[in-house]
C-alpha cells in the first residue's frame, strides 16, 4: 500500500479534511524516518511501535523492528485467542538396576507419565485447534457411548406407543394405566441428562454405559445398601473399633512394662548387683569367721574404720598370694560387672572430703579397671564410681577425697603431670 492509497482510504472515511490528512501523513513519515535514523522508538497509536536494534558482531548495523500493539495482536490471533497451555503429562525418572555403563552420551532414564489419559498432539497439517480437538474427541466419545445403548433403547421405546392407544380408547382408565408407564420414563430420561452435564475428564463414560444395560428395564431398582448395613447393622463403627484396639494394645504394653517383661524406658542399674556381696567378701567369709565382726566395729567410727576394712580386704589376699598374683587378682574381680558398682560406694578412699579428682570416665568396666590399676601403680588411691546418665552406665575413675578444692587441685596437677588428660575437680555427690 503506497501513500496515495492510504490517503484515499482515509479521506473516504471523512475523518478530517484532505489537506490535514496529507499534512499529517507527510509529517508522520518524516518523523518515523528521522526517529529510526537516530535509533529512537516511535509509537503509532493502535498499531505498534517501530524501532531499531543493533545486530551483527564484526559489522554492526541497525535493523528496524516492529512491536505489534496488544490489541492488534489479539485481533490477528482471534482464532486461538482463548487457548491456553495444557499439561498432558510429566516425565519421571526410571530407576536403573545395576551398574550403568558409560557411553559418553546422556542416559535416557526418563519415562513419560500421562496425566490426561491420552496424549494430545495437534495436527499441524489439518490446522486443528485445541478446542476443535476437544470437540472432536467429545463427539467421538458420545458416538461410542450411544452405539451400545441404542439397541437396548429401541425395545424400551416400544411400550409407550402401545399404552397410549389404550389410554385413548379408555379415557376413564387413564389414571389406572398411567402409573405403570410413569416409572419407565424418568429412568430412561434421567441418565441422558446427567451424561450431557457430566464433566468429561476423570470419568469413563464407556464403563457407565456398559453398566446400565445390566439393569432390566421396567423392574424397580433395589435400594443400594448403606455403609452401616454393609458393616453389620447397628454395631460400632470402624473408627470406634480401631480406637478400642489401640486402647487394649496400650493396656497390654503397660502391664508388660510393669511386670518387667519389656523395658520401655531402658534398663536401669541392675538392683541385684548391689545386694550381692563382692567376691572378695565371699572369699573372706568362707575362709574365716573373723569377718562377721568387722561390720560391728566400724559403726561407732565410720570414717576411720572404713579405711582399714577395705585395705584389710585388699591386703589379705595379697599377703596370702605372691606379688605376681596380686596384679592378676584384680582382673577377674573387676571383670564381673557388679563389682565396680559396689566398690565405688563401699570403697571410697580416706577422708570425708567433699571434693575429689575425676580422671576419666568409661562406658565399660574393664577400661575403668585398667585405668584404676594404672593409677594405683603410680601411687594414687583410685576408685571407680558408677553413674547412670541418659540411659547409659558410666564408670568414673576418681582419685582421693579432699576437704578443700586447693588440695584437690594439687592432686589434679600431679595427675596432669602423668599425662592424664581431662582431669578435673569434682564435688562428691
Amino acid at each position: 500500500m503506497n501513500r496515495d492509497e492510504l490517503l484515499k482510504r482515509c479521506v473516504d472515511r471523512r475523518v478530517a479534511h484532505e489537506t490535514s490528512v496529507v499534512a499529517v501523513s507527510h509529517l508522520f513519515y518524516v518523523y518515523l524516518l528521522s526517529a529510526l535514523k537516530k535509533g529512537q522508538r516511535i509509537e503509532v497509536p493502535k498499531f505498534g511501535t517501530f524501532g531499531t536494534h543493533v545486530v551483527g558482531v564484526k559489522r554492526q548495523r541497525r535493523m528496524p523492528y516492529f512491536e505489534v500493539d496488544e490489541e492488534l495482536a489479539n485481533r490477528v490471533n482471534e482464532r486461538y485467542r482463548n487457548l491456553k497451555t495444557l499439561i498432558v503429562g510429566r516425565y519421571e525418572m526410571i530407576p536403573v538396576e545395576g551398574e550403568v555403563e558409560y557411553t559418553g552420551k546422556e542416559p535416557k532414564h526418563d519415562r513419560l507419565v500421562e496425566t490426561v489419559g491420552e496424549e494430545i498432539i495437534l495436527d499441524t497439517n489439518r490446522d486443528i485447534t485445541l478446542e476443535e480437538y476437544r470437540r472432536e474427541e467429545y463427539e467421538r466419545e458420545e458416538a461410542s457411548r450411544t452405539q451400545p445403548t441404542t439397541p437396548a433403547a429401541a425395545p424400551r421405546a416400544e411400550p409407550p406407543p402401545v399404552v397410549e392407544p389404550r389410554a385413548e380408547q379408555l379415557p376413564a382408565s387413564i389414571e389406572a394405566t398411567a402409573p405403570p408407564s410413569e416409572p419407565h420414563e424418568p429412568e430412561f430420561a434421567a441418565p441422558t441428562k446427567e451424561r450431557t452435564l457430566m464433566p468429561r475428564q476423570g470419568f469413563d463414560l464407556r464403563d457407565e454405559g456398559t453398566e446400565e444395560p445390566t439393569q432390566p428395564y421396567g423392574e424397580p431398582r433395589e435400594p443400594q445398601p448403606t455403609l452401616r448395613e454393609i458393616s453389620g447393622g447397628e454395631g460400632p463403627s470402624a473408627w470406634v473399633q480401631i480406637l478400642l484396639g489401640f486402647i487394649i494394645l496400650a493396656i497390654i504394653t503397660f502391664a508388660l512394662n510393669q511386670f518387667g517383661v519389656i523395658h520401655l524406658w531402658g534398663r536401669r542399674t541392675p538392683p541385684p548387683a548391689e545386694t550381692l556381696p563382692p567376691p572378695q567378701e565371699r572369699a573372706t567369709i568362707t575362709q574365716g569367721e573373723e569377718k562377721p565382726a568387722e561390720p560391728v566395729t566400724p559403726t561407732p567410727t565410720p570414717t576411720p574404720t572404713e579405711e582399714p576394712s577395705t585395705k584389710a580386704e585388699v591386703k589379705k589376699p595379697l599377703a596370702e598370694t605372691p606379688k605376681a598374683e596380686t596384679k592378676v587378682e584384680p582382673r577377674p574381680e573387676k571383670v564381673q560387672p557388679p563389682q565396680p558398682a559396689e566398690k565405688a560406694p563401699t570403697a571410697p578412699p580416706a577422708g570425708e572430703g567433699r571434693y575429689t579428682v575425676q580422671v576419666s570416665s568409661w562406658t565399660s568396666p574393664e577400661e575403668a579397671d585398667r585405668a584404676v590399676a594404672r593409677l594405683k601403680n603410680a601411687g594414687f588411691e583410685a576408685y571407680v564410681v558408677e553413674a547412670f546418665v541418659k540411659g547409659r552406665t558410666w564408670y568414673r575413675v576418681r582419685v582421693g577425697r579432699f576437704a578443700t578444692t586447693a588440695e584437690a587441685q594439687e592432686a589434679a596437677s600431679k595427675l596432669r603431670a602423668l599425662n592424664e588428660n581431662g582431669v578435673w575437680v569434682a564435688k562428691v555427690e
Binding site: L6, R13, L27, L36, V44, V88, Y91, I121
Partner: protein, 93 residues
C-alpha cells in the same frame, strides 16, 4: 517517541489540533489493520512488509518440574523491513 509526543509534535508542526491528529493517526491504523486482517499481509512502500504467520501448536517440557504441556497454535504478525528503510537507518548523517 511515544504516541502523545508524536501527536503533539505533528499538531504543532502542522498547525492542527491534537484531536484531529489523533483521529487521523487512528484512521491510518484502522486502514492498515483492515488490510492486514482481510488480505493477511500489508506492504508499506519504503517501510516494509507485514505478514500474518501461523505458528503450529507443539509440545513443550518444563525442565524444572518436568511437566509436558501442549502449547497452543498462534497467529502472529511478522514485520520485514524494506531494504530502503535498513539503508536509511544505517545512513550516517
Amino acid at each position: 517517541m511515544s504516541q502523545e509526543e508524536l501527536i503533539n509534535t505533528i499538531s504543532e508542526r502542522a498547525g492542527i489540533s491534537t484531536q484531529t491528529v489523533r483521529e487521523i493517526l487512528h484512521a491510518f491504523a484502522e486502514v492498515w489493520t483492515e488490510e492486514i486482517l482481510t488480505h493477511g499481509e500489508l506492504t508499506l512502500d519504503n517501510i516494509g512488509d507485514f505478514l500474518i504467520e501461523h505458528r503450529p501448536g507443539r509440545k513443550g517440557v518444563n525442565t524444572e518440574t518436568r511437566e509436558v504441556f501442549v502449547i497452543p497454535p498462534k497467529d502472529y504478525l511478522s514485520f520485514t523491513p524494506a531494504q530502503d528503510l535498513i539503508n536509511w537507518s544505517n545512513k550516517s548523517s
